[in-house]
């Protein structure tokens, strides 16, 4: 018993990533986790069992060779590790930070059955950060040019994945972005403290070095149409424009001053850098008493942004209970650590304002959970007579988004479902219009960065087949 393999090697615990202390970080916009050192990364990598049939790979939407890259980290071959990652994922610096690993790779990790799973996301991030800081900057090999032109509409995670995949296959790729900066949700949606914008810029720059052209301020559907793109000589078009239509509560008083969609609030803070106002010109409302409606990742991002902008009190108001909150566990945990309060089983019914039309509070109802609904979650039911008022001078509505019709309205031959999302072939990403593919949130509705990347990967393969052999 004493001579078994287990006892010869002392088990290494999961290496926590150093991070800024909650009481410090809740008032700044610097990134929260600070990243692994080489020593921490190698200690963590040594925990991987190198399974023959790795569950983690099956759990990854883009099928990264996880044991492979982790083994290279253990051996200290960080260049090899990043090249291995790039084989399946063009943006490891982003995915290492924002993927919900706990329900994907790490959720399937054997080590996690009895203890904490291997910190795959942290290791992925380490490899990307190491390459950025110390790497050679050497580009992956690309095929000879095919002379085929591809237009990618939208420069979010799915569009960038398509661009990255097709440029290395030798196609001529142009990405069209409606905003003045590329990156889509990575730039306007996810805050600096979770994903530094310099990293996104560098990932886009990486694609540009590979030959991808990025055209900003191009609103496809208004400044140019999908049919125009074909007329301009593009052979294939990929649509990855995101969901992009904010949902409101449709409650009385919602157009008063101090009520913003999360899209607006985060775009001001992230894309326009309004947290630096008045050093920059775009303002953002500073709330003392902030209420965020909703409990997804966007709600957490909004709440944590409001805290950093100097709020005295930030409350998440959510109609279900903590168990049903759709945000990542890590985000909820980070938010709670920073002093965000959770007003659960609570639903607003009305906004209250003053005579200047400024928000002063809201009337809410307490809820209880009934039978499961269509989504499998227990349906919240209002408790009669439970009305109460909460004070608020800023309310951020983060209850999801719908399909923005700007592009699809202008392209009648792309079939949509009844919610306005684009219908695609689930195996290829092809739309009903010849030569046009779609993927990401405009197909699935609001989802995650990595799922959008997975959709992009699938469509890119199909586009390559089309450009090689036909529709």
């Amino acid at each position: 018993m004493t001579t078994t393999k287990k006892n010869r090697k002392k088990p290494v615990p999961r290496q926590p990533m150093p991070e800024q202390k909650p009481e410090i970080r809740r008032r700044n916009f610097k990134e929260v986790p600070e990243g692994y050192t080489v020593e921490l990364a190698q200690a963590e990598a040594s925990r991987c069992l190198q399974c023959r049939k790795p569950g983690c790979v099956a759990g990854c939407p883009v099928g990264i060779d996880i044991p492979g890259f982790i083994n290279l980290v253990t051996e200290g071959d960080f260049t090899g590790a990043i090249r291995n990652l790039w084989g399946k994922n063009a943006f490891p610096a982003v995915c290492g930070r924002v993927c919900p690993q706990e329900i994907q790779c790490e959720g399937k990790c054997i080590v996690g059955k009895k203890g904490d799973p291997v910190a795959i996301g942290n290791l992925e991030r380490f490899c990307a950060d190491y390459e950025r800081e110390f790497g050679s900057g050497e580009l992956p090999p690309t095929s000879s040019t095919t002379g085929k032109k591809v237009a990618v509409v939208g420069s979010g995670p799915s569009g960038l994945t398509v661009a990255g995949d097709l440029i290395v296959k030798g196609h001529d790729v142009t990405v069209f972005e409606a905003f003045h900066k590329p990156g889509g949700v990575l730039v306007y949606g996810i805050p600096e403290f979770r994903l530094p914008k310099s990293i996104v810029a560098q990932e886009v720059h990486f694609l540009e070095r590979l030959g991808v052209k990025v055209e900003c301020n191009a609103v496809v559907g208004r400044s140019v149409s999908v049919d125009d793109l074909f007329e301009e000589g593009y052979d294939a078009v990929y649509i990855g424009v995101g969901a992009g239509l904010p949902r409101f509560m449709n409650l009385p008083g919602e157009n008063q001053i101090g009520i913003l969609s999360a899209n607006e609030y985060l775009t001001r803070a992230n894309l326009m850098k309004a947290y630096k106002f008045p050093a920059v010109d775009t303002p953002i409302p500073i709330g003392k008493n902030v209420v965020v409606l909703g409990a997804g990742n966007v709600a957490m991002d909004s709440a944590r942004t409001a805290m950093r902008l100097g709020a005295d009190r930030v409350r998440i108001v959510y109609r279900r209970s903590r168990e049903e909150m759709p945000a990542r566990t890590a985000e909820i945990h980070h938010a709670a650590e920073e002093g965000i309060e959770f007003e659960l089983l609570t639903n607003p019914v009305k906004y209250i304002g003053n005579d200047k039309g400024r928000l002063t509070g809201m009337v809410c109802l307490r809820m209880e959970l009934g039978e499961p609904d269509d989504s499998g979650r227990r349906r919240p039911i209002p408790i009669e007579g439970s009305e109460f008022e909460i004070e608020a001078d800023l309310c951020i509505v983060a209850v999801g988004s719908g399909a923005n019709p700007l592009l699809t309205e202008s392209t009648a031959d792309i079939k949509l479902n009844r919610w306005g999302y684009i219908i695609t072939d689930p195996k290829t990403g092809k739309t009903s219009k010849k030569g046009v593919w779609a993927g990401g949130d405009i197909v699935t509705g609001a989802a995650t960065v990595i799922l959008a990347m997975g959709a992009g990967r699938m469509a890119a393969n199909s586009i390559h087949d089309y450009l090689t052999w036909g529709w």
Partner: protein, 276 residues
């Protein structure tokens, strides 16, 4: 960069004209549509409806009143300078059809927005009656351009320094009393559009207004520009900027335009300190 090729000051330097190189936009623009402009890296995105485009030269023309930090920054740009970003054309184009007699009412820099619409209304064969209003003679803009595209032309000033002494609504009422007007287009300060709409409603004359709420993305993504039209929330950037004047909640629009009044003051004070 989107280079400024022509710059004019009007109304005693309170209103600025910039003709900007933007060939892609110039080739597509239709009357009533707008662009978003951003001067530099740290600048704000500001929506302005185009006053003129020249597809052959590849230019668009914007005319704006200097009211705060961003427009003061725009004003400081000279010929040869440029805007870092110009996005457009955005919004829905004006529905132009031949219907008979049309009255176009302009106030302030709204006249700039009204010009391409008035011209299109005339070109399609309508009888166009134009009324321009200003506080005084010095603040009146684009008189000659507007006169050229109108069959009948009236001016009102609040102080009587030019044209009729009174408001645009005084002149409009006289016209509505004596003529069979099929459509009114009113573009100018929110109170002007509100009172024109109240008047034309009494006469049951369809009235189009162009709204100017605060915007961020201009593509329907943020909802900052939401306006109540006929008890429904609409986004001016994608559903507008033009709406049925009889259905717009002007009081709410005026209120929402005040959202950042304090911040705008802070920003403008800083601008003034830095630029003397």
């Amino acid at each position: 960069m989107f280079k400024i090729v022509r710059r004019e000051e009007m109304a005693g330097g309170t209103v600025i004209l910039n003709e900007i190189e933007a060939p892609k936009i110039a080739g597509r623009e239709k009357p009533g549509q707008f662009v978003l402009l951003k001067a530099n890296e740290d600048g704000e995105r500001v929506p302005l409806t185009m006053a003129e485009t020249d597809p052959e030269k590849g230019t668009i023309t914007i005319i704006y009143m200097v009211v705060g930090r961003t427009t003061a920054l725009f004003k400081s740009l000279q010929v040869g300078d440029g805007f870092q970003d110009v996005i457009g054309p955005l919004g829905k184009a004006t529905h132009i059809e031949k219907i008979g007699k049309v009255v176009c009412v302009g106030g302030g820099t709204g006249t700039a927005v009204l010009h391409p619409i008035t011209r299109a209304m005339k070109e399609i064969g309508n009888h166009v009656i134009t009324i321009l209003g200003a506080r005084n003679k010095d603040l009146l803009i684009l008189e000659d351009l507007m006169r050229k595209v109108s069959d009948d032309f009236y001016i009102t000033t609040d102080d009587g320094s030019y044209g009729r002494h009174g408001l645009v609504t005084d002149q409009l009422k006289d016209i509505l009393d004596r003529e069979d007007i099929k459509q009114v287009v009113a573009i100018g300060p929110v109170p002007m559009m509100k009172f024109v709409s109240l008047l034309t409603k009494k006469y049951n004359v369809p009235t189009l207004v162009s709204l100017n709420p605060i915007m961020v993305d201009g593509t329907g993504m943020c909802g900052c520009c939401r306006v109540t039209v006929g008890d429904k929330t609409r986004f001016a950037c994608v559903d507008g900027p033009e709406f049925d004047g009889h259905q717009v909640d002007y009081d709410e629009l005026m209120m929402r335009l005040q959202s950042y009044r304090e911040e705008e003051k802070v920003s403008y004070d800083k601008h003034c300190r830095m630029n003397g």
